[in-house]
């Protein structure tokens, strides 16, 4: 373990943790309003750490006996994590292996992935540090939401809600400067995703699934027309 990388990881996780605080706060409020107990709500967040998966999950839980439905919807909404896991596996350092991958694999989220992938080489220490603040933010935010409901000032919640997207932009935009191929893939993904939001039929597709479809389609087009010949 390198202390330096660990600390750097913790720092990189701060904005994610803050962003998670507001998202999981919303989850907490929603779960309580659906009739879940505080401990039930917090336990879901602490054991799954998937935003879209959890929001969809608590709605499925309301009807008894929908176990197969639960399995299918969770797998579809979360299939994007598999692609992220494979991408990450290509960039991790040699020391980051065996049991450590089985442990920290549980913490691969969209945002943690986004930050980790911008590392040149992902060390075990950095990744361990990176997971800490998001996990605390996610668990604690859920607890606060479940406990306090809507006590935080509405204006503050509104402003914090854009923090996560600000981070995504800070990851994607510098990459777009590297070449036309990334620009095209990004524009395609934005266009498809907007279509899924507004077009009839398409807008009925659940969020987690539509994000997977948009990402896979635009990346397939990118890989077909702009194969990356020889990257590092």
């Amino acid at each position: 373990m390198s202390k330096q990388n660990f600390i750097r990881g913790i720092k990189s996780g701060v904005p994610v943790g803050l962003g998670y605080l507001s998202v999981s706060f919303t989850f907490g409020i929603m779960a309580i309003s659906l009739g879940f107990k505080i401990w039930q709500t917090v336990l879901i967040s602490m054991l799954t750490v998937t935003s879209a998966g959890q929001f969809s999950g608590i709605n499925t839980m309301l009807v008894s006996g929908q176990y197969i439905e639960m399995l299918i919807s969770q797998l579809t909404i979360n299939i994007r994590y598999s692609f992220m896991s494979i991408s990450l596996s290509q960039k991790v350092s040699k020391q980051f292996s065996g049991i450590w991958r089985w442990i920290f694999g549980a913490m691969i989220t969209d945002e943690i992935f986004g930050i980790a992938i911008s590392e040149k080489e992902i060390t075990k220490s950095f990744f361990a540090g990176l997971c800490i603040m998001p996990y605390i933010g996610w668990s604690f935010g859920t607890f606060l939401g479940a406990l306090l409901g809507s006590v935080l000032p509405e204006r503050l919640m509104s402003a914090l809600s854009i923090a996560i997207y600000g981070m995504f932009i800070a990851i994607v935009v510098p990459e777009m400067e590297k070449g036309i191929s990334v620009i095209i893939v990004v524009l395609l993904a934005a266009l498809l995703s907007t279509a899924f939001k507004f077009l009839p039929m398409l807008k009925n597709v659940p969020g987690g699934i539509s994000i997977s479809i948009c990402a896979i389609a635009s990346s397939l087009i990118g890989a077909t027309f702009f194969p990356i010949k020889d990257s590092d």
Partner: protein, 104 residues
């Protein structure tokens, strides 16, 4: 919600979300050489992040106008190579200030 049903559902959620993340992460050990798959995997992160951001960013804050201003500020700062934390913070601040002037 009775506890038995809750725990069965929870178990399904936990196991499926864990395995879908951990299996590929732990088992893909060798470097992928196929150009098509490599290209696909290198585009995936940016495609996923974009699809999650657009159009969701416009509807996250209370005001679409404030969100749009925040988006442009974030892009501008990113082009100037500001850190993730800086971009996130200034974008939030922008939305906060904008919403002080906008009645939704």
């Amino acid at each position: 919600m009775n506890n038995k049903s809750y725990f069965i559902y929870l178990a399904i959620m936990v196991i499926s979300t864990y395995l879908i993340r951990a299996i590929p992460f732990a088992l893909v050990k060798e470097k992928i050489e196929n150009t098509f798959i490599k290209s696909f995997l290198s585009y995936i992160p940016y495609a996923v992040l974009t699809a999650m951001t657009i159009p969701a960013i416009f509807y996250a804050p209370n005001s679409v106008i404030a969100a749009t201003v925040g988006l442009f500020v974030a892009i501008l700062l990113s082009l100037k190579k500001a850190s993730l934390m800086t971009v996130a913070f200034v974008a939030s601040l922008t939305v906060f200030v904008c919403e002080l002037f906008i009645t939704v």
